[in-house]
Amino acid sequence: MSFLDPQNAALATAYLVDKVVGIYRDSYAPGVGTSVLGGYLYQKAIPHPFGRPVFAELSWSKDGSSYFDGGSNVSAATSGAIAYSDSSNIYITTLENTGTIYYKLVCSWIDDYDTTEPSITPVLNTASGLYFDSRKNYPKIDRHGVTTISGTGTKAITHGLGYAPGFKGYFESISGQVWPLIAGGTSDVWLYDFVNQMECYALIGTTDVTLNFTGPASSRRVWYRTYLA
């Protein structure tokens, strides 16, 4: 069977989708029980049961009503939050160290993390009964994979779609930790360890996605997904 216009298909088994395995929603006081990175980033560890890192997408708030996306600064170098994970925890890292941080975390599975196929118990929100809605569209993964980067340079990932697709990448900014893409050098507030931490951003073209990276010489993995536009 050929799919002439997959964008119009809400559900198509020819395409992978993001597999949500963890949903966390709670709040905490960033000055209590948090560790400090680089003297200015306040980090909360949230244990997870998956045994390996997951892609962690964060929405966060300071008042429980107005939520911001993770990774992106709200106010230059004074207000922001980002989430990353390792094999034991999801970490929420903020520039804030007072008040209350409200968070919503949606964690998706990394198929290409390794060759094992472990059994897991999802951590899901029982209050949400609507998982699929055939009246709506879904982000359809065209391809996914893992590649390695080291030092400073560029690396192309070919997608061959003929247009610039959606793209999400996660990488080992620090070995064993899976971060969303971060960049900006001295402007990058999430770069707290100039010796061990790597930066990477992606430019999406009509045939390739080019990874641009800067950091230590040790090899780091990048997991990626391209989405039909």
Partner: protein
């Protein structure tokens, strides 16, 4: 219940993102920046952010290159004219997303910015929360 996520494509016991309609607008960057000065270019897009999370993509009309900018504080597709410094802040209202790029000229003389039109696409998702 224990499952093997590697082996499935659709499984109704794992939730997914529900994609809502994309909102698109453009932001024009042009003009000159004096020595030591900063120019800020911004655009606010109206989008229903109630119980949603959004991906924000920027595409440069000169290069055709696109980047996901909502998870990064670096305006990756900005086309440099000289050695100016470019940073971005994305801020969120209840029904809006504002993208602001600040261009700072740290040289000793004015520079003419590379004229460029940035197309901004905001893709909202209903979160399974």
């Amino acid at each position: 219940m224990s499952i093997k996520p590697d082996r499935i494509q659709f499984f109704s016991q794992l939730p997914n993102y529900i994609q809502l309609d994309t909102v698109r607008d453009t932001m024009v960057i042009s003009g000159s920046v004096g020595a030591g000065a900063t120019s800020t270019f911004s655009k606010t897009l109206t989008v229903d952010r109630n119980n949603t999370k959004s991906d924000v993509y920027a595409t440069n009309g000169n290069t055709g290159l696109k980047a996901l900018i909502s998870s990064c504080n670096f305006p990756a597709v900005y086309q440099f004219a000289s050695v100016e410094r470019a940073v971005q802040v994305i801020s969120y209202g209840t029904n809006s997303v504002t993208v602001a790029w600040s261009i700072t000229n740290n040289t000793g003389a004015p520079i003419a910015l590379t004229a460029q039109t940035i197309t901004l696409d905001v893709i909202p998702y209903r979160l399974p929360i």
